[in-house]
Amino acid sequence: MAYTKSVPRIWRERIRKYRLLGGVCNDCGKVFYPSRRFCPRCGSGNVNKVTLPRTGKILYFTVIRNAPTEFKSFEPYILALIELDNGARILAQLTDIDLEEVYEGMPVEAVFRKYKEQGRDGVIEYGIKFRPRE
């Protein structure tokens, strides 16, 4: 599919994705990921960009056993909703972990990892995953 094979598409998200660039709302206080022009909760445009902390804990997780085609070869893998130390929430895969180890509340830290490949001749897409923190 066209959308899965584009270099500019990855390039233009690089700062928000690789640096965990989030936003904070000066009106309602919500911290969110990724950064954007308006607060998703209250709609305010009075928001600042903020580099999010790279540590947090698992709120909820699931094990994906039937993946979308691009991720088929990685089955099974853990997907988690993570709360970072400043309250921002992010959805990401876990890595360097066995399926039996994961639990709600587990402390985790961000690492830079491969997510998928744009086919046999395409580029590799990287992003932030989380691993258990000592």
Partner: protein, 390 residues
């Protein structure tokens, strides 16, 4: 605002239609609805087609012109309406607006999805397009996985046993047995559900709505058209209200995961517009793409207290004869969930009940029905409230 009536319904059975294409399905349900209304196809001034993934799964867009061509009414106003799994409900909502506004006297809302030509992992890729491609689909999330997170949040918040939530699937299958349009016309037991393979923990295969093909269509008109052009004045249904609401598209941006805010917003507006309360509803269709969604929806629609949706399932209150008969034709789980068509199938099922045509599944004296159609993980919710008026 013009009053809006439903005067015709048509649908194909939901199944793996190896012998029917996307366009075949559309034409079939359209003709059935036109014949059911007893009108001419030339009477239709506009068509709104609910569909989510024809482009990705069939390589086919531009469904409005395609259907107009194959139905032999090119020239008619027709286009596709998309709101993920809420596409059908959204198309019905547009059809409602078109008649209510006074612009058109007779229109058709049609839903269609052709899923079974694709391999399962491609369907999984298609469905996750309901969420943010860059920040959710990118992570390898599946649509089932997102609902699994909701499931975990609900269980943690209320300390509920999974069996009590999974019971929703058993409920749906029981009623699909008597529905000739249903995909799975057989009963299942709670042990079957709990022993079926995990798709995304804790969600089991038999807690998920199946993949299937189908199309359903509804004819809507105003009062003048009803009196002049419709010969059968029995079993006429009025659309009391039709409301669409959105919510923040992705879970990680929301403040809560155990309620779908768009259901609350849309349903409270719809009750008000229809001048009724939840207790006045005789039959309801909820969007149980996963068992947990059925339970949460009962709460968000005002039929159960927060955290007790599973209790009214267990206590039989959603059975025919119970306080709030729910998914009486099999729901998404067993009637089937051809994604973009589902919202129209729900209206089809409610009209069937209100007309007294539900056979063994008939709810006695059903007068008011409500359908809740959900797009994505609640990013869109459409509520339609219908009433039998003659």
């Amino acid at each position: 605002m013009e009053k809006v009536f439903i005067v015709g319904i048509g649908a194909t059975k939901v199944r793996e239609h190896w012998n029917l294409s996307l366009r075949d399905l559309m034409v079939k349900s359209a003709i059935k609805a036109i014949n059911n209304a007893g009108i001419n196809k030339q009477d239709i001034k506009a068509i709104y087609i609910g569909n989510m993934s024809s482009g990705y799964l069939q390589g086919q867009e531009h469904l409005g012109a395609l259907l107009a061509t194959w139905l032999g009414i090119a020239g008619v106003s027709a286009c596709k309406v998309e709101a993920a799994c809420g596409s059908g409900g959204a198309a019905f909502h547009q059809a409602f607006l078109a008649v209510a506004s006074g612009l058109y006297d007779c229109v058709m809302a049609l839903g269609v999805e052709k899923m079974t030509d694709a391999i399962t992992s491609d369907v999984t890729s298609a469905l996750i397009m309901a969420d943010d491609q860059e920040y959710v689909a990118f992570t390898g999330a599946s649509f089932v996985a997102l609902n699994a997170l909701i499931y975990r949040a609900y269980i943690k918040e209320y300390g509920v046993k999974q069996e009590d939530i999974a019971l929703f699937a058993v409920h749906d299958h029981k009623y699909a047995v008597n529905n000739p349009y249903a995909q799975y016309r057989r009963e299942i037991k709670i042990e079957d559900v709990m022993n079926s393979p995990l798709i995304a923990d804790p969600i089991h295969l038999l807690e998920c709505a199946p993949i299937g093909d189908g199309s359903a269509a509804i004819i809507l008109c105003n009062e003048r058209f009803l009196e002049k052009k419709v010969s059968d004045q029995e079993g006429v249904i009025e659309v009391l209200s039709s409301v669409l609401a959105t919510d923040i598209i992705s879970l990680h941006d929301r403040d809560t995961y155990i309620t779908l805010n768009a259901t609350r917003v849309a349903s409270s507006k719809a009750y008000k517009m229809a001048r009724i309360e939840p207790k006045d509803v005789n039959v309801v269709e909820v969007h149980d793409a996963f068992t947990i969604l059925g339970v949460i929806s009962l709460e968000d629609l005002g039929f159960a207290e927060r955290g007790s949706g599973w209790e009214i399932v267990r206590e039989g209150e959603i059975e025919i004869g119970g306080k709030i008969p729910t998914n009486t034709m099999g729901g998404l789980k067993a009637r089937g969930h051809p994604v973009g068509a589902t919202g129209i199938y729900q209206i089809f099922d409610i009209v069937t009940q209100l007309r007294g045509e539900a056979g063994k599944n008939q709810v006695d004296n059903a007068e008011i029905g409500l359908a809740q159609n959900v797009g994505g993980v609640g990013g869109t919710v459409i509520i339609n409230i219908l009433k039998r008026v003659r």
